[in-house]
Amino acid sequence: MMVKELMEELVKLGDTQVIVGVKPTIGEPFGDTPNLGVLMTNCELLPMAAPGFEPGPPSPESIELARVVDRGIRESELVDLEKLCIEEGKKVWMLFIDLHVIDYDGNLFDASNLAVMAALMNTKLPVAEYIDDEIVLSEDETMDLPIRDKLALSTFVKIGNGLILDPSLEEEEILDARITIGVTDEGNHVCSMQKGGEAPLTRDEILDAVHMAFTTKDDLLSYLD
């Protein structure tokens, strides 16, 4: 499948389209992590994206998607949150990552992750300083987000006895089980994983999928360049 970056935040994976917006704001850090910036991921499966997506409060599916994407970014530590701290214990950058699924043609996990990666890599923050209890934002100086690594999410579905990478809508509709694996580019680590679907997976199937996730990650991440 083709991955094409149309705008800095729109990703198309096959016919699946996800728009991601990253909004930086300045706020107070959490009590237990006074020196770290904050990442928040949210997701909306828009009613326009599929006949089954309904308006109203977020469905379990959208929450799962948001949390799996969030966990990948967070656990891979690809954003250096320490550098998002403006004044320890007082002010930090908070990044709100909002996923908008506008067309659903399968494999939302991988598409969303690529969209978030693309968006994060293109986000620029104004340089901020903390002077006399006040934040002063520089008008012309910006900084890139401190990105340390890249994350590739690979989703496989089990249909019958086979594992298929990057399921299409038709494949997702008949899947028995689903497994999503996040691996980091440089660190070469497994950093997130999520199983879904009604059927169980065997140990060997899981280990196969993990192995494949490592071998496909370069291919997947090349679309970001």
């Binding site: 379990p60 929450i63 656990e75 070469n188 950093c191 199983k195 879904g196 059927a199 169980p200």
Partner: protein, 236 residues
């Protein structure tokens, strides 16, 4: 509960060996009204699970014409954690409810109960790391206690990486300070895995080690589930 002392790995902060659980206690049939129920303690976790059903449901769109369906509600009591948790569902509990249902569903054999619903409720009374696995373990016992036909009793447990070492059953402290957490649930008879999550940083080899450790751990907890169910009916 299980003491397997090995010499090649250091003991953990709380003195456990790498493959040692916190103390576990499981009891079946602890609630009067529910069709099935179970209580589970592991370390500082105290978890209740209840089952109602199979029963009719007014939410027609969730029902299936050829089999029964399961719905899970995972909830943490406001007093279950150090700072009071705001009551009601949040994103975390919504996700855990969903994956817990996915984890339990493969074991159910509800074909003789079409158009019916089984409601499982997992209530965390006190939390100390690893509540989702403990909740699934308790819920499976409650399902068996309710007389629900099942292929197997699903069991959950987690492994993780602490101080570059893969260890079993993370406590809250280890979970916070550790490098990775891999919760799984499985059907012990066939070894099929029904829940799998991971977060943190693991190499491919470490992941395999963690997976094998949890699978072994699940088999041991499975024995405790069996004992709890049998104890309920043999020693009133």
């Amino acid at each position: 509960m299980f003491f397997i002392i090995s010499n090649d790995k250091e003991l953990r902060v709380d003195g456990r060996a790498y493959d040692e659980f916190r103390p576990i206690k499981i009891e079946a049939g602890v609630l009067k009204r529910a069709d099935g129920s179970a209580y589970l303690e592991v370390g500082g976790n105290k978890i209740l699970a209840s089952v109602y059903g199979p029963r009719e449901s007014y939410i027609r769109r969730l029902l299936k014409p050829n089999t029964g369906v399961i719905r899970v509600r995972y909830n943490m009591a406001p007093f279950s954690v150090d700072d009071r948790k705001r009551p009601g569902p949040d994103r975390r509990s919504t996700e855990i409810s969903k994956i817990a249902a996915d984890a339990l569903r493969p074991a159910l054999m509800l074909e003789s109960f079409p158009r019916s619903m089984v409601d499982v409720s997992i209530e965390v009374i006190e939390a100390e790391g690893g509540t989702r696995c403990a909740g699934i373990t308790a819920a499976a016992v409650a399902l068996a206690d309710a007389g629900i036909p099942m292929k197997d009793i699903v069991v959950g447990c987690a492994a993780g990486k602490v101080n570059d070492q893969v260890v079993l059953d993370l406590s809250e402290k280890e979970d916070k300070e550790g490098q990775a957490d891999v919760p799984i649930a499985m059907m012990p008879r066939t070894g099929e895995i029904t829940l799998l999550q991971a977060d943190g940083n693991l190499t491919e080899e470490e992941f395999e080690e963690a997976l094998d450790l949890t699978m072994e751990g699940c088999r041991k907890i499975s024995q405790l589930q069996h004992e709890a169910l049998k104890a309920r009916y043999s020693s009133e």
